[in-house]
Every structure is written in C-alpha cells, then in structure tokens.
C-alpha cells in the first residue's frame, strides 16, 4: 500500500478523508436468487492511526461484513473504502492481495489456523506469502526471530512446535493474533475474537489486544456483539440495521 500511496500522493485532494482507514457511505447487498438482503445501508466513519475502535451490534447486524470490506476481503455494492487517503476501489486484484498481506492483519472468531502447521509456521504464514521461495532463505532467520519474539510476547514461547489441535482455545486465538501481526500491519481487524472463548479466556485476549494497542500503538478495529466488552476500549460504535449509531 505504501508504494501505491507514494504514487498517488500527488492525486490527493483536501476533500479526501484523513483516517488510516475510512468508510464512506458503504452499502452491501447480498442477492440470494430473487431475494436481496441489504446488510449495510450507508456506513461512514474514520479510523485514525493508533486508535482502538470497537463496533458492536447484534448478530446479523453486518459487523463482519463491514470488517471484510475494510480489510479488502470483499467489495462494497456501493460506497468507498479509503486506506491512507487512497480509494481502494481503484486497486488491482494483486494490489488488494498485497495490502491484505502487508497492511492488514485479520483475527477471526474461529481462529482459522492451518491444522497441518505448527504454531510457529502458522505465525509465519503471511511472511511466507510475502516472500518468494528464492527470497525466503535470505529472510528466513530475521522473520523467524520476529515470529518467535511475537509468540514469546503473547505467552506462547513454549508452544511454538505444537499443532493447533494441541492448544487451548485461548492459545489458538493468541496464535492467530501472532499470525495477524507478523508482517507488522498498520491495521488489525478482529472479528469477534472472544466469541468462541469462555469469559475468562476472552478477557485475556482483550488484555492482549489492549496491551498491543498501548505498547505498540497498534491500530485495532474489533467487532463484537458484547456491549460490555465494547465499552472497555476507547471508542465504540453501534451498528444496527446496517447503519452506525454512536
């Protein structure tokens, strides 16, 4: 994204949003046969660098859809997503892939770890996607060290060679967080990261996210259906009927 940004700096006009990531009048409609389901009905907001924002809403309110649009996993029916003042609708497919790889980290409710890979390998996955087979030997050592430090920081120093099935739910989610952070993304998107955990473990995960935000100024956008949880962090937005309510 940074490359794209340099290229488009001269095109930037003062009317463009100034957030790290900005949504402008986002609509998303799913069509299932003859039935259309309008999930998002004009969502606009900005996320500033270093912010920790929670979006809460009931099940089916479109939280995950919004997160997917902001993380370039999906495209809006109408409206725009800006990343560092650049309209992402102009991005090529390869550029979107590169942005997802370098600038965005995802944490999912069900972890989505690859069962064949160890904790360390799962963590290194985005780095492996970024570097070609030929480039890997030159980067391997530094990246591995980065992943190991990250895992140690998340309390998984003694779990690196374990497979996901050998881990507890909390450990799995921390591994997923490590994976999301290995490429040092500008934005961490967390989709109900505690939704599959008991409250005690869920709290620990929130503590991890808060620590990352505090210590590393990590920009985090988290969605949850838990209003209480949403109140614990800096700014929270409420999504209902496909619209944001502050």
């Amino acid at each position: 994204m940074s490359k794209h940004r340099e290229k488009t700096t001269t095109e930037t006009t003062p009317t463009l949003p100034e957030g790290l990531v900005s949504a402008r009048d986002l609509h998303k409609t799913y069509r299932m046969g003859k039935v259309s389901l309008e999930v998002l009905r004009g969502v606009s907001f900005d996320v500033q660098p270093g912010e920790f924002i929670t979006i809460y809403g009931h099940s089916g309110s479109g939280k995950s859809t919004l997160l997917h649009l902001l993380g370039l996993l999906d495209e809006p029916t109408s409206g725009q997503v800006f990343l560092e003042q650049t309209d992402t609708s102009s991005f090529s497919r390869n550029h979107r892939n590169a942005v997802r790889n370098r600038d965005v980290g995802f944490v999912f409710q069900f972890y989505y770890l690859l069962p064949e890979l160890t904790v360390l390998e799962n963590t290194l996955l985005p780095a492996m996607v970024e570097h070609s087979t030929l480039a890997w030997p030159g980067q391997n050592k530094a990246l591995r060290q980065r992943a190991e430090e990250l895992l140690a920081e998340l309390g998984l120093g003694d779990r690196m060679k374990h497979r996901p099935k050998e881990l507890s739910g909390g450990e799995r989610q921390r591994t997923a967080i490590a994976r999301a952070l290995v490429n040092q993304p500008k934005l961490l998107l967390a989709d109900e990261p505690t939704g599959n955990l008991d409250s005690k473990t869920g709290k620990k995960i929130i503590d991890v996210l808060l620590r990352l935000h505090r210590n590393h100024k990590q920009t985090i956008l988290m969605v949850t259906h838990d209003e209480e949880l949403a109140q614990q962090v800096g700014r929270s937005l409420y999504l209902t009927d496909g619209k944001l309510v502050k």
Binding site: N94, N97, R100, N101, E116, M128, V129, E130, H131, A135
Partner: protein, 581 residues
C-alpha cells in the same frame, strides 16, 4: 514460499495424498510391466529369429533343397548390403542315447557349417563349452571341454549344497567329501526318510547328473591321453595310403584306429553333435530355473535320420544312422528350438539326409544329382536395420536368383521363397503387435481413470480445505498462488507415485521369472507356459523409452487431475471460503 511449503506439508499429513500416490504407483507399475513384457517379447522374437536363421532366409518349398548353393552364396555375398551367407540343412530324425536302450526322442537335425555360421547368426552366444567364442567349431579341443565340465561340476555342487544344506550339515567331513566324489554316494548319504517326494526326486536327478558328469569327464580325459597314439596311427595310415600299401595292411591300421576310437568312444569332428539345451529327458529344470544336464560333452548318441533329400522308394523309408559324440550344447532361449534341435556338421547331415552329390556309375565325372542344402541364411550388413531395409536387400537377392536359375536350371525344382525374418514370423509377430496395441489402449483408459481418481481426491481435498483457502487469501495469497499449491501437490503426487511405480515395475520385471516360480510353487498356477510362448523365460528387460513416457504422462495425469480443483480454489471468494461450513 508458502506454495512449496504447504504443498510439502499437505503431502506429509494427508492420507488422501498417499492414496493418490498409490493409485498412480500401481497404474504406472502395471503399465510398465505390460509394455515391458510385450516389447521384450517382440524383441525376443526378433532376436531369436535373426539369431537362429539370419536376417533373410532363402528356402525352396518342399524338401528337395537348393543345389549349387556355394556358387549362389558367392554371388549374393558380392551384394554390398550382404555381410555373410551360409547354407543350412534341416532334417528330421530320432535321437537315442548310447547305453540307454529305452530313450528315444524325435528331433530336428540342423546341418551347419562352423565357424561360418557365427557370421550369419548368434549361434555362438548360446554355446556351453565355447560360449561367446568368435569361431565355434565341432572340433573342440577336448581339454577345453574338460575344463568347462570342471566348472560345471562346481555349479552342480553349489546347487546340491544349497538344496541339501541341512542334510550335508549332519554328515562327517569325510562323508560330505564323498558325496561330491560320487553321484551314488551322494544319493545314498543325503536321502532321508522324512524328505518330501519332490526333494527325493530332485536328489535322484542331481545325483544322476553328477554321475553322468563324472563319466563324461573321464571319457574326455581318456581320449586326451590316447590322442597321441591315435594321431600316430592316423599318420601311419595316411603314409600307407600314399606309398600304396596293401589293402590288408591298411585294414589292419584302420582296425587299430577303430579299436582306440571304440575304447574311448569320442568320435572325430565330422561325427560330433551340439545338442539343443532343453531336449525332453536330457535335461531338467530346478525350482530356481536352472537347467541341469543329464547328457553333456563326452557322451555319445545315435541319430536316425529320415532321408528327405531323395525320392522315396516303394519299399518305404530307411533311416540313415549316425554315431555322434556330444561336444557342446546350445541355448537359444526359444523353447521350440532348444527342445527339438540338434546341430551336426553340414557335410555329415548332407550325407545322412541323402542330399549328397551323385555321379553317373558309368562316368564318375558326370554329376547326376548335385549336392543340396535346405536353406541359405543371409546376414545383412549394418545395425538396427528396419524391415524395409531388409526387404530391399531381399529384392536384390531375388533378382540375382532369377538370373542364377537361368544359368543353373537344376538349382531348385520348386519355387524359392526369399523372405525376411519378419515375413517368416508374421504369424507370430502380427497378432502380438495387435495385442500390444490393445494393451496400449487399455493403458490409455487406465490413465484416464488415474486422472479422474486424482480429480476426485483433489476435489475432496479442496472442499475440505475451503476455509484454509479463505485464510490464505485473507493473508494475501493470490488466486493463482493458491492454485499453485494444489497443482504442485498434484504434480508431486504424480511424481512420487510414478517414481515408486517405476521402481516397483522395474523390480517386478527384473524378477518376473522368480515371481512366476513362486506363484507356481504356492498356487500351482503357471501363467507363462514355455510351450505356448516359445521362450523359456518371460522377458525381463524394462523398456526404458516406455518408462520415461509413462513417468512423464503420470506426472501430467497428477497435474491434470488437480487442475480443475486448483482452478476452483483459485476462483473462491475469500469471504465465501471463510464462511464455508
């Protein structure tokens, strides 16, 4: 990096992948075995046909034969394509063994010229005493035959030691030694009550072979010892003839020579025979496929030749009898040849088959009936000759024959066929080639099945991994990158499967005869019948050209099978993949 990494990691942990590899390996193995055996079989027929009868055979229909063959050979060898040509007589007869009044066996008798036959065929390759020698002869130095028998004795001893190791272990060193000095003691000491009937029979056969070997060797050694005496008497007889000694004086010398010849019973070069190795009753095969000789160089036989070379009289046929000493044996590998053919000197069979020259009783200078041969075998110059090459040479010979016949109208009384080895073997080769085509079609079907199997396997794998594909895309992997993981996976499944299959096929083909022996032992069923398939052994050479093709096409099968699932993976929308239940 992730493509290679995931591809290898999936391979390690997916039982499905092993199943795919197994399918590829089995089909590659099957393809390689069937193609190799078929190609080997066809190659064997070609080698055997050429090795036995040369590239081109000139043969008149009927048994009257060809006259003036040496003149015609002199003419055809002037054709630049022709490397060599040699006359051949094929006769019919009955073989009996000296000292065995019961044994009789019908045989085909080949009259050949040595060493010139070695220039036209591969006859020398299958010889026992003169194995691989460039100039085989009927006049083998007896010490060479003795030396060969000594080596053979060690081979027989090794078989006895292998088959009767347990029995030998119970004997005192002296008795063990005695076993290998006499076939009789061998049978006596090694027979046990608890032995199976098969084992007793094997011992009886081996001890009999051992006994016969001793006898043959002693005869040859005796003949060597008295060779000087015999040579001196022959010189004396020649001198007596020269100085015009009386008939009585000559007869006396002849009798002395006969006395010695009878005593050592080794006939001179004109009356020596090379047996085909496999004549029923004269050899047996062990379970391990070794051919053991009952009769060997040094033994004598009788041949009763049915004289086909002249018109038969109204009184019927009287066989011509010849006494022969076995001096060698020959294994061509073609069962129908090795079980029927004996080889004797060309001139000897010409006489016994009534193909000799007949002169007018009134005027000895006038030839009434020229000497004849049955066939002329031609070797064409050059390596890897194709059928059209050989046919061109055959056409040149045909042209020459037309001219020759005008100059020598009595050269043949019937039509003469000039055919390449392939034309002569057409009845065998053509159905085989058709069968090979059929096998290739079956193989193509198997190949399609492999592609479908891999498709099914990969489709299932891709479906199972839908969410992981979503994760990969979420962390920035491109559609083609994800497809690359599965394509690489398919190629590796194809590669490993086909390498394992090729190795398996190679091991199977190399040991195909041992495997058949084992199957025959355990299940009592023999797939390859020697009588039916002509050869003693199933061809066991891997067709490497086919192997490379099969290997490449199996990797391609892996790729093709994985292609559609990989494309499906590439086209998956990340969000849909992540939501997949």
């Amino acid at each position: 990096m992730y493509k290679l990494f995931l591809c290898l990691r999936y391979l390690r942990s997916k039982a499905f992948a092993y199943f795919g590899m197994l399918c590829v390996a089995l089909s590659v193995c099957l393809m390689l075995i069937s193609v190799s055996v078929f190609t080997g079989f066809l190659n064997k027929i070609e080698k055997a046909a050429k090795g036995l009868f040369g590239d081109i055979v000139i043969e008149p229909y009927g048994e009257r034969g060809l006259a003036h063959y040496d003149e015609f050979i002199a003419e055809i060898t002037k054709i630049p394509d022709v490397e060599a040509a040699d006359p051949f007589i094929l006769g019919l007869g009955v073989l009996s063994v000296e000292g065995d009044s019961h044994y009789r066996q019908t045989v085909q008798i080949a009259g050949i010229r040595l060493p010139s036959r070695a220039r036209v065929t591969d006859f020398e390759e299958g010889l026992f005493v003169q194995e691989g020698t460039a100039n085989p002869t009927f006049d083998v130095p007896l010490n060479e035959a003795v030396a060969r028998l000594e080596v053979y004795q060690k081979f027989l001893r090794a078989i006895v030691e292998r088959e009767f190791a347990a029995e030998l272990a119970t004997l005192t060193p002296e008795r063990r030694q005695a076993c290998f000095q006499s076939g009789i003691l061998m049978e006596h000491y090694l027979t046990r009550d608890e032995q199976s009937a098969g084992k007793r029979q094997l011992l009886r056969r081996l001890s009999s072979a051992y006994r016969n070997l001793d006898e043959a060797k002693t005869r040859l050694e005796q003949a060597q010892l008295r060779a000087g005496e015999l040579a001196a008497l022959r010189d004396e007889l020649a001198q007596a003839k020269q100085r015009g000694a009386t008939a009585d004086e000559q007869l006396d010398l002849k009798e002395k020579i006969e006395d010695i010849t009878d005593a050592v019973r080794i006939h001179p070069a004109g009356n020596r025979v090379i047996l085909g190795l496999g004549i029923p009753g004269l050899t047996f095969r062990t379970d391990k496929g070794e051919t053991i000789r009952y009769l060997m160089p040094g033994h004598n036989i009788f041949l009763y030749v049915v004289p086909l070379g002249r018109r038969f009289t109204s009184e019927g046929i009287q066989p011509n009898i010849g006494k022969f000493t076995i001096i060698d044996d020959n294994l061509s590998g073609v069962h129908s040849i090795d079980s029927k053919m004996v080889y004797i000197p060309f001139d000897t069979l010409q006489t016994l088959n009534n193909m000799y020259e007949e002169v007018s009783p009134d005027d000895p200078s006038k030839v009434v009936e020229p000497k004849r041969c049955s066939q002329i075998h031609v070797k064409v110059r050059g390596e890897n000759l194709t059928e059209p090459d050989l046919r061109r040479t055959a056409a040149k010979i045909q042209e020459l024959w037309g001219d020759f016949l005008k100059r020598h109208p009595d050269a043949a009384v019937s039509d003469v066929g000039i055919e390449t080895w392939r034309q002569r073997q057409q009845q065998v080769v053509e159905p085989l080639e058709k069968q090979r085509t059929l096998v290739i079609i079956v193989i193509a079907v198997i190949w399609v099945v492999v592609v479908v199997l891999i498709f099914v396997i990969f489709y299932t794998i891709v479906t199972q991994k839908t969410r992981e594909i979503g994760v990969l895309k979420a962390v920035g992997a491109s559609g083609w990158g994800v497809a690359g993981v599965f394509l690489g996976y398919g190629a590796v499944v194809g590669l490993i499967g086909s390498v394992v299959g090729t190795l398996g096929g190679w091991v199977f083909v190399k040991n195909i005869n041992a495997i058949q022996d084992w199957v025959a032992d355990v299940f009592g069923y023999r797939v390859w019948s020697r009588d039916q398939f002509m050869f003693d052994l199933i061809p066991n050479e891997v067709d490497w050209n086919a192997a490379i093709f099969i290997l490449a096409s199996s990797i391609l099968a892996g790729l093709l099978g994985a292609l559609l699932p990989a494309i499906r993976a590439a086209r998956m929308q990340p969000v849909e993949a992540l939501r997949y239940e």
